[in-house]
């Protein structure tokens, strides 16, 4: 269900199959019980469409094309898909639209410049781009570098991962993907709000209109559930 919702993105620059108005989307959102909270300021600017079937692997290949051939067409396609998501991600975390726009552009510029460091054996395109956006967000807010650069480290460019290694890594991400999909929407949303949007318990309680204790226990259970699904490390 989440995955289907996930397939919804902006139309701009893409060959959409069908366009939803925001009202359509909002009804679907409500039906899945996820409409109780809204993200201030994002709604009017949003146009949504069902995404065409471009898989994550295609986006990895596009980043590689930038690394190998400075391919601007590949960059434009990545921009069309990721830039509005990165901006949405920053705005969910409470950033003003202007700064979110600017930082989303910076993230895409960083993607272009650091493409040679992308290693498809280590991470999917979305995961790698997420870490760039995350680090830039922390740097902008704290004016200090976030000490998390392991996906930005140099690797041997000539050393192509073997198909079996690629498969292993993709399986790793598939495991996470499957696990995340098995969380209930309620569990998913508290993890989103608390960790990725960096909201304190009290604010989540207000947003979801729940007692503080319920938020804390839901978060604890959500992490426990995720741990069980991923298996103990």
């Amino acid at each position: 269900m989440l995955i289907r919702l996930r397939r919804i993105c902006v139309l701009s620059g893409m060959n959409g199959l069908a366009t939803f108005t925001f009202g359509d989307f909002h009804r679907i959102w409500q039906r899945f019980g996820r409409g109780r909270f809204s993200y201030a300021g994002t709604k009017p600017a949003i146009r949504r469409t069902v995404q065409t079937m471009t898989g994550p692997a295609d986006y990895s290949a596009k980043i590689l094309r930038i690394a190998q051939r400075s391919d601007k067409a590949a960059f434009a396609e990545l921009f069309g898909y990721y830039a509005p998501r990165i901006k949405g991600f920053f705005m969910r975390g409470g950033m003003a639209p202007g700064q979110a726009e600017e930082l989303a552009q910076e993230t895409m510029l960083m993607l272009w410049r650091k493409a040679y460091l992308f290693d498809p054996a280590k991470a999917s395109a979305s995961t790698w781009i997420f870490t760039i956006a995350r680090n830039l967000r922390v740097d902008a807010i704290r004016r200090e570098r976030y000490p998390a650069a392991h996906l930005m480290e140099e690797h041997e460019p000539d050393f192509e991962p073997s198909p079996s290694e690629m498969l292993l890594r993709l399986e790793g991400e598939t495991l996470v993907r499957t696990a995340m999909q098995k969380l209930s929407p309620e569990q998913m949303s508290v993890i989103q709000l608390h960790y990725f949007d960096d909201k304190p318990h009290s604010e989540i309680a207000r947003t979801l209109d729940l007692p503080l204790g319920t938020v804390k226990s839901r978060l604890r259970l959500a992490m426990q559930h995720l741990r069980n699904l991923l298996g103990e490390e």
Partner: protein, 215 residues
Amino acid sequence: MTHRPSDEILMAYAAGSLAQGAALVVAAHLSLCPDSAERVRQFEAAGGMALEDVPVAEMAADALEQVLARLDTPSSLPVMPQVRHLAAMPDGLVLPSPLEQYDIGKWKFLAPGVQWSSIGRGGAPRNRPMLLRAKPGMVLPEHTHRGVEYTLVLKGTLHDALGDYYPGDLVVADASLEHEPKAGPDDECICLAVVDGRLQLKSVLGRLVQPLLGF
């Protein structure tokens, strides 16, 4: 490796919501612990999914054009400031790579048999990470916490009522825990530590050194 940070801490680190000092100690731990590093990679993959899932916000009409125009201009990369490592390390101790980009101050007296050295310049002094160096058998200054204390063993061993900790182990002690970590009897112990939140050194000695540390 037995003492690893909780999934909650690793998730916060992967999401970018862990405090700066704590994130540095966790990053150092990850460079020594493949299990924790793998877990963080999983949580970062969850971040990648969260990015795909996020309600999109339309970019400005000329955004792509603007960025395309900037692609060929060489990046004005910020010049990394020269870092200074003033604290001498015992032979054979290689500091974890995440510490490389930070200034490390000289060893200073903290308590008999215990020295400390500050790391970096940013943030409030009390939340700044530090290196602690204790002679064999010496007790690290007793303190209670109002925040969460992260201690990563880099050399030697550390012991408290709850367990024995070896290089690479990360001990996370929250406010409910009043622990008195002690260096092992045979070797000096070097740790990387930070307090996320306010720290109160409790003993008389603590009260004496508290003003010196600026807590």
